[in-house]
C-alpha cells in the first residue's frame, strides 16, 4: 500500500506542478487536473492486470501516471516536446502508452466509449482473456454514445467496465442538474448489466470492487458499470477557477475526506512511520522536478515533420500525385507514417 500511496502522491504533486507550469505558459491548450481523484486512478489501475487495456477521457494525467507511464513522458507531452508519450502531437488530453495497454486519452465527451467497446470486441475475437477499463466522467452519461456502447457491450457480452468517475460536476453542471437518474450506476439496469457504486476516495474499496468486476468481465464476459464517487479540487480545467458553481465551503468539506490523508492514516495505523511518509514525499518531489527538467531538455518536434504519422507507411506514394495545383505549402507534407517505435 506504500507504493500505491506514493503513486497517489505522485499524481497530486505532478498536477500541482502542471498547474504551475501552465500558468508559466510552458503548457498550453486545455489542461484538466486529477487532484482529489487519486484514489480512483490508482485503485482502478492497481486492480488491472498488466495486459488489461485502459481508455480514458481527457482528464488523463492521473491514469497515465498510475498505469506507470513515466512522469517524464507525460510532462514532456504537456510541454509539447518530442519525448512526450505522443511525441508532442497529443498534449494533455491525448496521452497514451500502448506498451502498458493505455489506448489513449480522448477529448470528445463520450467518444471513447464506442472505441473501448471495439477494443473489447477485438479481445474476444482474438480469444484473449483480458478486459478493458473505459473511464468516463459523469458528464458523459447523457451522450448517445453511452447508450449505444452499453447496449452493444451487453448484447455481445464484451469484457469492458465502464468506469464513471463521478466528481459531481460536468464542467460546471452538477449531476443533479444534468441527469434525470442521478444514481448513475443504476442506468446499467437498462441493459441488464451489473452496476455498482463505490467510494472513489477509498483506495481499498476501489481496488476490491474493480478487481471483482474485472474478474467477472474476464471470466464470464460480463460488462459492468462502476460509478466511483469522488471530487476534483481544481476547476474543470486550469482555466476554470471552479467557484461559479460550488462554494469554497464545499471544497473545504470535501478535502476533509481527502484520499491521500485517508490512505496515509491507514498506513500509519498499519505501522508506517512519519519518517517513511516523509521519505516518500521527498522522493515524489524529486521525481516531478526531474520530469520538468526532462521536459525542458527534450527538443521540440521537427517542423518539417508536421504531417508525420498522419498516414501509414506507403501513403506518401499514394499522395504523390496530388501535388499539381495544391494550396501553398501543402505539397511539402510528408507522412512517413508507421509506428512510432
Amino acid at each position: 500500500m506504500l507504493a500505491m500511496y506514493e503513486q497517489m502522491l505522485l499524481i497530486r504533486v505532478f498536477e500541482t506542478e502542471a498547474e504551475r507550469q501552465y500558468k508559466a505558459a510552458r503548457i498550453g491548450g486545455y489542461c484538466h487536473l486529477s487532484s482529489g481523484q487519486e484514489a480512483t486512478c490508482v485503485g482502478v489501475v492497481d486492480a488491472m492486470d498488466d495486459d488489461d487495456l485502459l481508455v480514458t477521457g481527457y482528464r488523463s494525467h492521473g491514469f497515465a501516471l498510475a498505469r506507470g507511464t513515466s512522469p517524464e513522458a507525460v510532462m514532456a507531452e504537456l510541454f509539447g516536446r518530442r519525448d512526450g508519450c505522443a511525441h508532442g502531437r497529443g498534449g494533455s488530453m491525448h496521452l497514451l502508452d500502448t506498451d502498458r495497454g493505455y489506448y489513449g486519452g480522448w477529448g470528445i465527451v463520450g467518444g471513447q466509449l464506442p472505441l473501448a467497446t471495439g477494443l473489447a470486441l477485438a479481445l474476444v475475437r482474438q480469444s484473449k482473456p483480458q478486459a478493458v477499463i473505459c473511464e468516463l466522467g459523469d458528464g458523459a452519461v447523457n451522450m448517445g454514445a453511452w447508450h449505444e456502447s452499453l447496449n452493444l457491450a451487453a448484447l455481445w457480452k464484451l469484457p469492458v467496465i465502464f468506469l464513471v468517475v463521478n466528481n459531481k460536476y460536468g464542467m460546471g453542471t452538477s449531476v443533479e442538474r444534468a441527469s434525470a437518474e442521478p444514481d448513475l450506476y443504476k442506468r446499467a439496469g437498462s441493459y441488464r448489466m451489473h452496476g455498482e457504486r463505490v467510494d472513489g476516495d477509498d483506495l481499498e474499496a476501489v481496488i476490491e470492487t474493480t478487481s471483482r468486476l474485472l474478474e467477472r468481465a474476464r471470466e464470464q464476459r460480463e460488462p459492468a458499470v462502476l460509478e466511483a464517487i469522488t471530487y476534483r479540487y481544481r476547476g474543470h480545467s486550469v482555466a476554470d477557477a471552479g467557484l461559479a458553481y460550488r462554494t469554497k465551503d464545499e471544497i473545504t468539506e470535501r478535502q476533509q475526506r481527502d484520499p491521500l490523508l485517508r490512505t496515509a492514516a491507514r498506513l500509519r495505523d498499519a505501522g508506517a512511520s512519519t519518517e517513511d511518509l516523509r521519505e516518500i514525499d521527498q522522493r515524489v518531489e524529486e521525481r516531478v522536478q526531474a520530469a520538468v527538467d526532462f521536459a525542458l531538455d527534450s527538443p521540440e518536434p521537427d517542423v518539417g515533420a508536421l504531417a508525420w504519422a498522419m498516414y501509414a507507411k506507403g501513403s506518401d506514394e499514394q499522395f504523390a500525385r496530388m501535388r499539381p495545383g495544391s494550396a501553398f505549402g501543402e505539397e511539402e507534407l510528408i507522412f512517413d507514417g508507421g509506428l512510432g517505435k
Partner: protein, 337 residues
C-alpha cells in the same frame, strides 16, 4: 481439355455486376485474412440491405459477418477500437446519409489516430457505404457528402464507378493501414462489367483512370458521375466533339497529375459530381485545375453538381435537380464556347 496456364488464370475476367464485384472482394479478403470481419446493420441474416453481403454469413459465420443494432455511432466506434488492436473491420453503413450520426467517430476519432498519437497506434479500418440519388428517396436519403470526408486529413476516400474498380478499390481499402471510406453508388449496383478474378487484383489508391480518351475537353468525374459523363461523351462524339473522361476513383488522395496532364492536352475542363458543388469536390477540382493549368486553359473551368436544394420527392423535380446528362452536355458545350 483446355489447359489454363497460371498466367492466363491471373488474367481471367468474369462479367458481373458492381454488387457482385463488391461481394467477391469481401469473400476473397475474408478468406485471405482472418483479421477481416464485417459489421453492420442487416449484413448477416438479412443478407445485406442491398444484398452485397448475401451468403457471407452462411460461409464465414456470425462472428465474421456480424449483425448490429441500428447504432451507427456505436458500431463505427467499435470498428475504430477493433482496428486499433490490429483487427481489420469492414463496417457497412446502409447509406452514406446514416454515416452522419457516426460523424464523431469518423472525423474526430478514426481520422485523428495516426497523427494525434504520434504514430504510436493506427486505425486500419474500412467503412463502405452507398450513396446516390434518383430513386425518389427524397431529401434525407439522397445525399452525396463525398467532399466532406475527402476534405478531412487522416481519412482516405475512394469511389469506384465500375465493377472492376468496385472489387479493386475495396480490396485495396481493406489491405490499407489507414481508415478508408469506400463510397459506393446505389444506381450502379446492377451495372455489369468485366472483373479480374485474380485474388491479388487491387486498384491502387490515389490513381485516377482515363475512362475515355479525347482531345477537345476533359470531363473530370467520379462514381456515378463518371457513368453519366461517358454517356454524354458518346452523345458529343455524334456532333464531332471528342471528350476525354477522367474517373478520379480516389478523392483523397487525389490524382491531380492525371487531371492536369489531360487538361494540358485538351485546354478545357468540366468537373461533374453528384453532390452540391459549393465547397464540394468540383470546387476543389476547379481550384486545383485553375492553379496547375493556368497557362493551358482556353476557358474557365466549369462544373455541374446537384441543384443546391434538399432533394424533392416529385419525380420531375428530382430529375431537374440531378446532374443529369442534359445538364452535363450543356455545360460541356458551354466550355467549348
Amino acid at each position: 481439355m483446355t489447359v489454363v496456364t497460371p498466367d492466363e488464370q491471373a488474367q481471367a475476367v468474369e462479367r458481373m455486376t458492381y454488387r457482385e464485384a463488391l461481394r467477391l472482394a469481401l469473400r476473397e479478403e475474408l478468406s485471405r485474412d482472418e483479421r477481416v470481419f464485417i459489421m453492420g446493420e442487416e449484413v448477416g441474416v438479412f443478407e445485406g440491405s442491398y444484398k452485397v453481403t448475401a451468403g457471407l454469413m452462411a460461409e464465414f459465420g456470425a462472428d465474421r459477418v456480424r449483425d448490429t443494432p441500428i447504432s451507427e455511432e456505436g458500431f463505427v466506434g467499435a470498428g475504430v477500437g477493433a482496428a486499433m488492436l490490429g483487427e481489420r473491420p469492414v463496417v457497412e453503413i446502409m447509406t452514406l446519409n446514416f454515416l452522419l450520426v457516426a460523424m464523431d467517430q469518423v472525423v474526430n476519432h478514426a481520422a485523428k489516430i495516426g497523427a494525434m498519437f504520434g504514430g504510436e497506434v493506427r486505425c486500419p479500418m474500412v467503412i463502405r457505404t452507398p450513396n446516390g440519388a434518383g430513386n425518389q428517396l427524397t431529401a434525407q436519403h439522397s445525399q452525396s457528402f463525398d467532399g466532406w470526408f475527402a476534405g478531412t486529413p487522416g481519412l482516405k476516400v475512394v469511389t469506384p464507378s465500375n465493377p472492376a474498380d468496385a472489387k479493386g478499390l475495396l480490396k485495396a481499402a481493406i489491405r490499407d493501414e489507414d481508415p478508408v471510406l469506400v463510397i459506393e453508388n446505389l444506381p450502379i449496383y446492377k451495372e455489369k462489367g468485366d472483373v479480374p478474378l485474380d485474388p491479388e487484383f487491387v486498384t491502387p489508391i490515389g490513381r485516377a483512370a482515363v475512362a475515355r480518351q479525347g482531345s477537345d475537353l476533359t470531363i473530370v468525374s467520379h462514381s456515378f458521375a463518371t457513368v453519366r459523363a461517358l454517356h454524354v461523351a458518346e452523345q458529343l462524339a455524334e456532333d464531332g466533339i471528342d471528350a476525354e473522361v477522367i474517373d478520379l476513383r480516389s478523392l483523397r488522395p487525389l490524382d491531380m497529375e492525371t487531371v492536369a496532364a489531360s487538361v494540358a492536352k485538351t485546354n478545357r475542363a468540366l468537373c461533374v459530381e453528384e453532390g452540391w458543388p459549393s465547397y464540394g469536390v468540383t470546387a476543389e477540382l476547379a481550384a486545383r485545375i485553375s492553379k496547375a493549368c493556368f497557362d493551358d486553359l482556353d476557358a474557365p473551368v466549369e462544373r455541374v453538381g446537384m441543384a443546391e436544394v434538399p432533394l424533392p420527392y416529385a419525380k420531375n423535380l428530382e430529375t431537374a435537380a440531378m446532374p443529369n446528362e442534359d445538364r452535363i452536355a450543356a455545360a460541356a458545350r458551354s466550355v467549348l464556347g
